[in-house]
Symmetry: C2
């Protein structure tokens, strides 16, 4: 199967410096891949000179000089930047020219433009941001991570259904265990949203295992953890913050004196193993699920290795045809073409 | 100044095995301290035989055989267990026999009983759970961590005022920087609760620095971080979960083969330093702020070192007279004695 993916080459904190080398690396490891780099051709072209002819044939550049800045307001990105690299990459998905797009750009803009251009499947109210996170036992798919604040119980149910499809498709788990993020195992502890979502999930036919607490996420208690986007984003960022703080403390402890520097240097194999497992790049690539096409968001600060990982997530979702699986789960052959977006 | 503190000796996962040795350790390090151990005398007494006479004089045992179990429903603990070690310890605060109490017991029960027995200060709607968390630069006081779900903007304002008083009193910071936990720096990103709380905080006269994201908490961007209890609890538990997962990974990486075991052993001084800084016990002891008396909650799974730390938090709050400072900030001489609790 030939897979075509569009890359918003200008997105992220580092732009083409990171996105183009990452794209070419993934192109090399996957001979069936065709890639479209969307962005400023004068910046992108120099990177392509090193490609073998067979690789060059699988690479297209779609030139545009307009860019969504990391701090652009969503409304500006959506309404005034219709030729941005982000917008054109998403348009390519909508037109069927590619099967997925990847961007490290402004999350709010990516979500709004994707939703406007691609629409959600019928019967899905809102797309959600889903990512895999490491656990002591493997990994967990968590959603929503910030697309929806003030979610209703029905939305959490939809997130659970979408997350279940993704875990099934990407991990080959037959009945993924779905947990609802809560602050205690007692039923009394949750807020109103959680209690009502819990009732809906019990009747959903999903393999719903009940409540999961913040620490349970990383213990691998569930294959899918569902939460409101506000809560999920705070939990994700707090977790990243702690991991970074600890990594910084390890460095400081090693640098403390000659003895710690020496023994720290000797323990290099331990650090190597740890770095490999802690590497945020290994889990880069959040999916905007619920849309009629595949859109993967890379961390804005991703390096080339991490951005390549986001590209691999997109490839995998194309291979498994995740949007079609979600569409089927929600029992709708096609989203009505006349459906209006609320955002533009 | 002589300080008297009551300890719910039966609370927590380990009961007197942890609480009594911890209590005696703190008693020894602070000659002005008097401690009342509340619980089953037949279990507590054997531990006291080793005390020096001068220490024994500063130790009282208040016998009761009733205990709030970790999985007791809040209503059961509050209405049916009026002679529990937890209840009697809180009663001692209310009666003025001690200035603070410490418990590692059931959080929901501790909150409900404390609120019923001690009441909140006038002008404070709800107590909040506050704890110090490590940051790359020192520590931050975060609240609420689970006492209040579905908080209103006015509650977040009250949390901010209380947190500011605590940071001022315990850390000696003159105008503590107060941040509001949110999912992005753009004003567009927050939910309705956050936007309205942000407005209130801007007019509060506090040193309000605006939004702080999940990772910003651990970067030391603020001295006080305010959030709804649901969000705060999830963030706290997720952070604990990540820290534990990483500690487990370090162990696994060291145990991987003979080389990593050897070099890992040589790096002992690094682990020592790291363990000291990562030690959850260093930050054990969450305060139930907003009440007319001091109640400190220890982690249920705390060991003796960690439980001792919770006791030290209580001692410090007594020394600084935190409830009186909060009362003054909220401009009320005394809470009306006739005020009814909503919980019993």
């Amino acid at each position: 199967m030939s897979i075509a993916i569009a890359v918003d080459a200008m997105g992220g904190d580092f732009g083409p410096r990171v996105t183009v080398p990452a794209t070419l690396a993934v192109l090399r490891e996957n001979p069936s891949l065709r890639l479209t780099l969307v962005g400023d051709e004068s910046i992108i072209a120099p990177f392509l000179s090193r490609l073998a002819p067979s690789e060059r044939l699988r690479t297209t550049v779609l030139h545009t000089s307009e860019v969504v800045a990391m701090d652009d307001k969503v409304a500006v990105a959506l309404r005034q930047k219709r030729q941005s690299s982000m917008r054109l990459a998403i348009n390519l998905v909508q037109e069927g020219a590619v099967q997925a797009c990847v961007s490290a750009g402004n999350t709010g803009a990516l979500m709004a433009i994707s939703r406007f251009v691609l629409k959600t499947h019928a019967n899905i109210d809102r797309p959600a941001i889903l990512t895999a996170l490491p656990t002591t036992k493997g990994h967990v798919h968590m959603l929503d991570l910030g697309a929806n604040v003030d979610s209703q119980p029905e939305h959490l149910l939809q997130f659970a259904q979408m997350g279940s499809v993704v875990a099934e498709a990407l991990d080959g788990i037959e009945h993924p265990r779905v947990g609802l993020l809560n602050i205690g195992e007692e039923e009394i502890k949750g807020n109103e949203l959680i209690k009502r979502a819990d009732e809906l999930l019990r009747q959903s036919g999903l393999n719903y295992i009940g409540y999961v607490e913040g620490d349970g996420v990383f213990k691998g208690q569930a294959d899918v953890v569902v939460c409101d986007g506000f809560v999920g984003n705070v939990a994700l960022k707090a977790s990243e913050g702690v991991a970074k703080m600890l990594a910084g403390m390890i460095k400081e402890e090693i640098g403390r004196n000659w003895l710690t520097r020496l023994t720290g240097a000797l323990a290099y194999p331990v650090w190597q193993g740890l770095r490999h497992r802690m590497d945020p790049g290994r889990y880069n690539g959040a999916s905007l699920v619920g849309l009629t096409g595949i859109v993967v968001k890379s961390h804005g600060g991703a390096d080339a290795d991490a951005f390549a990982q986001a590209l691999r997530v997109a490839v995998l979702e194309v291979e498994k045809n995740v949007p079609a699986l979600i569409e089927r789960r929600f029992g709708c052959a096609e989203a009505p073409a006349t459906r209006e977006s609320k955002t533009e």
